[in-house]
């Protein structure tokens, strides 16, 4: 498994390089003036020109690219045009917030998605199956932004149970973190739980029809042992693939959720950076997020090998 991880890591380097180049090209190709964004709607052309000069945006694009790669080679991702602070520091300050929120949302997703998917498969064509799938469809259909707003009105304004927004770091106050993160995590998770429930249900149904499950039943094994030991273990390979995708979707989905709930995570940072054409921040933060997602995918690959010996024997 170690060699699989190493091979994956080596193949990730060109990916990161390519991503950095594509990001640089895309952010500079889209029209828009960072100086105008920073200056705001009432700024005069004179003020906008002054910002452009201050931020050295009047230099040729190629010069900016060379500088960026030269800095990158020294581990320097540049300085945010908007925040005026190092990109690496700003990104690393936000990353734990998004990771904590994503993990919380992932836990909810797994709990609801796996639970309802397994239950629906075991009780196929019953009201439980119907209810679980209706719930899954609702989760997939309702935009998390809208769901978040509804939750704010219901749980904050009407019931007064949870705060409307803001963020408390887990390390400062675990209960405060739980209070501020629950609605964002649930609004993020419900969409993906629906997706996971449907995948889990169909995979489980397929596995439950296999001969080895019939054999296990014939041997007189208990229902729970059949489900957990034989059915779920074999269904986990496709489910793990989906979970890998879900982790990526959680991080990209946090863009909207963090804005709605005023959470200072990487999603909000990137949104602001793109909207304001903060070139160094977009390039640097995306590179870090890409590296994170690459690591997650390597983790998934390693997990495959752990779950399925064939992956190890085939050499990954």
């Amino acid at each position: 498994m170690g060699s699989i991880a190493l091979r994956r890591l080596a193949s990730a380097l060109p990916v990161l390089l390519l991503v950095s180049l594509i990001t640089f090209a895309m952010i500079h190709l889209i029209p828009g003036d960072p100086a105008a964004a920073i200056a705001g709607s009432s700024a005069t052309p004179d003020q906008i020109a002054a910002i452009r000069h201050n931020l050295r945006l009047d230099q040729p694009l190629l010069v900016q690219l060379v500088h960026w790669y030269a800095d990158l080679a020294h581990g320097n991702l540049g300085t945010s045009l908007l925040l005026g602070q190092p990109v690496l520091a700003a990104t690393l300050a936000r990353l734990p917030v998004t990771i904590a929120l994503s993990l919380y949302a992932l836990a909810i997703t797994l709990l609801i998605g796996l639970g309802s998917g397994i239950l629906a498969a075991l009780r196929q064509n019953t009201w439980i199956d119907q209810a679980a799938m209706i719930f899954a469809m609702l989760g997939i259909s309702v935009p998390n932004f809208y769901l978040g707003l509804l939750m704010i009105i219901f749980f904050s304004v009407d019931l007064g149970w949870l705060p409307t927004g803001g963020y408390v770091p887990f390390t400062h106050d675990p209960l405060g973190w739980l209070a501020t993160s629950t609605m964002p995590a649930v609004s993020l998770a419900l969409l993906l739980a629906g997706l996971l429930a449907r995948i889990t249900r169909s995979t489980m149904l397929e596995v439950l029809r296999q001969d080895y499950i019939r054999t296990a039943r014939a041997k007189g094994l208990s229902g729970s042992r059949i489900v957990l030991r034989h059915a779920l273990a074999n269904a986990m390979i496709p489910i793990t693939t989906v979970v890998g995708i879900i982790v990526s979707l959680l991080i990209s989905g946090s863009v909207v959720t963090e804005s709605l709930f005023s959470i200072p995570g990487i999603g909000q940072l990137l949104t602001q950076a793109v909207l304001n054409r903060d070139y160094p921040m977009v390039q640097g933060a995306l590179l870090i997020v890409t590296a994170l997602l690459v690591l997650v995918n390597i983790g998934i690959d390693v997990l495959y090998a752990a779950l399925d010996p064939r992956v190890r024997y085939d050499g990954g």
Binding site: S41, S42, L83, I152
Partner: protein
């Protein structure tokens, strides 16, 4: 140069420095006569929901309203504006203008300390002006300044190359003010100024994208020439322990926060929520009229908007009520001018061109222009809903008289870039002018004047009549003459359709009903505001 004392002395708003100085020679506010403001209650954390992100607190290099909202509670200037928009002294104890108008001498208030505990001296003022000259966004205001110096620790002198009657007006502007910082920060790079000022609030914590927490500065020295807060200056006291500016970009979440009491104030209530909030006895709605002038301006370099008859056709057909209704969700007032009606500098010169919605007249002008149905591009954005909505309604009104109006919708940074650098790509650009009209006519009309008019005069050639009026606004020796020049320029702009103001948009601020002393303003003032219990 005999100094004269006057309680709450202030200079009139539109470049009155010269006339005032000619008459008085100096500006030296006397001591306040009434008992100064005292906080009825001290304590608490006032959480204010701000609609836009704050990226930096470097007030010298940011013209963003979101920065100003917070920074002007931290920093102070030599001069600022009072509640009537008149220039007043802030960190300066007195200002004397020489008879030849070439020297301004500022005596500094004594005992003022920065939030790092260091005493403020003229060396800090010199350093602040040095940094501003290097990186300040409105450093062009210093173009007529020859140099400055500090003859002693309490005196700062500005020496002009030539007399500039409007200099003090510009110096007291709150758009991108020359805030006074410790001399040690002179070389801080743009956007990276350490937030150490002399104001009543100091930064406790700044988490970009989330919140900025200010705490009461215990060593604050109030301006005893006043007895209460006025405008952005006066006698200021911090009554809360802390003020938290929380960034809540989603309007629905802002309203919900206000309703639950998590936020005690917000800077923008969506018009659609106003009716519901009016019924809530725990919330006080505070409409701030004249937030910005909703406006469009034509591209004078591209056909068909380079043709005066065509522009007049557009002007003649527009129904401003319909446009403003859509732009503001019904929260607006009609306004022909480039100043707000509550300002002494307001003029309705050129009003005969405004809000005509006369299709017959428009068609007459259209025929005279020789318009052949070519596309007319309305360049707008969706970042600012009022701009997009105004463009949408204007498009339908133009189409009604046979103009092939087409919307080009981008985001704000893109649209502003296109408007400045791609003269063939648009015909009308949509904007909102808020801060500049609030500061005064010069800041506003600068948008349409040389050297960088936003409406792109053809081949860079400006209308001589407009240039003459603009020069008069800047150079005439008396206030009355400068105001007359402004009125003349406004009339020219409207007659020649160099810009089309639609009206003034109202913004609604709100606080919880236990918050007292909060008066809605362009920049929320956190001083002299307190909790009732």
């Amino acid at each position: 140069m005999k100094p004269v004392s006057s309680r709450r002395a202030s200079l009139a708003p539109f470049g009155l420095a010269a006339s005032f100085a000619l008459a008085m020679g100096a500006l030296t506010p006397g001591s306040a006569q009434a008992a100064p403001f005292k906080c009825p209650h001290v304590g608490g954390d006032f959480v204010f929901g701000q609609e836009a992100n704050v990226n930096s607190l470097d007030q010298m290099t940011s013209s963003a309203i979101s920065t100003r909202n917070i920074a002007l509670n931290i920093f102070e200037e030599l001069m600022t504006r009072d509640s009537n928009n008149h220039p007043i002294l802030d960190l300066a104890d007195s200002m004397t203008e020489s008879p030849d108008h070439l020297t301004y001498t500022f005596k500094l208030r004594k005992g003022v300390k920065f939030q790092n505990g260091q005493k403020m001296t003229s060396a800090d003022v010199v350093a602040s002006f040095n940094r501003y000259k290097k990186v300040g966004l409105a450093r062009s205001m210093l173009v007529n300044v020859d140099h400055w110096d500090a003859p002693d620790a309490d005196t700062f002198v500005i020496h002009m190359k030539k007399a500039q009657p409007t200099f003090i007006t510009q110096l007291s502007s709150f758009s991108v003010p020359i805030v006074i910082i410790p001399a040690s920060e002179e070389n801080d790079p743009p956007q990276q100024l350490k937030p150490i000022g002399t104001g009543p609030w100091q930064v406790e914590q700044f988490v970009p994208g989330s919140f900025v927490k200010l705490k009461r500065y215990a060593g604050y020295t109030p301006n005893t020439h006043f007895d209460n807060r006025t405008g952005y200056g006066g006698y200021k006291q911090a009554c809360f322990n802390t003020v938290t500016f929380r960034i809540v970009t989603e309007p629905g979440a802002r309203v919900a926060g206000l309703q639950t009491g998590e936020l005690q104030g917000v800077e923008d209530v969506p018009t659609k929520s106003v009716a519901a909030l009016k019924k809530d006895k725990n919330i006080d709605l505070l409409p701030l009229k004249n937030w910005w002038i909703q406006i469009t301006y034509p591209n004078l370099s591209a056909p068909p908007t380079d043709n005066l008859d065509f522009r007049k056709a557009v002007q003649a057909v527009l129904n401003m009520s319909d446009i403003m209704d859509a732009a503001s969700d019904g929260s607006y007032s009609l306004n022909v001018g480039f100043q707000y009606p509550n300002q002494p500098t307001y003029t309705d010169a050129g009003k005969s061109t405004y809000n005509l919605h006369n299709a017959a007249l428009a068609k007459k002008y259209l025929a005279a222009s020789g318009y052949k149905g070519q596309p007319v591009v309305l360049l707008t954005d969706k970042d600012y809903a009022p701009m997009y909505n105004a463009a949408l309604v204007m498009q339908s009104q133009l189409q009604a008289i046979g103009i092939n109006a087409q919307l080009k919708v981008t985001d704000w940074p893109t649209s502003i870039q296109i408007s400045m650098h791609d003269p063939k790509a648009w015909n009308f650009f949509f904007s909102g002018w808020g801060t500049q009209p609030a500061i005064g006519p010069i800041d506003t009309m600068a948008f349409l004047a040389p050297p960088d008019a936003v409406n792109l005069p053809k081949d860079g050639k400006y209308d001589p009549a407009l240039v003459a009026a603009w020069n008069g606004m800047n150079d005439k020796p008396t206030e009355a003459e400068r105001q007359a020049s402004f009125a003349a320029m406004q009339k020219i702009v409207l007659d020649k359709v160099y810009a089309i103001p639609f009206g003034s948009l109202t913004k609604v601020q709100a606080v919880r009903s236990n918050v007292k002393g909060f008066v809605p303003a362009r920049i929320p003032r956190m001083s002299n505001v307190w909790f009732a219990n």
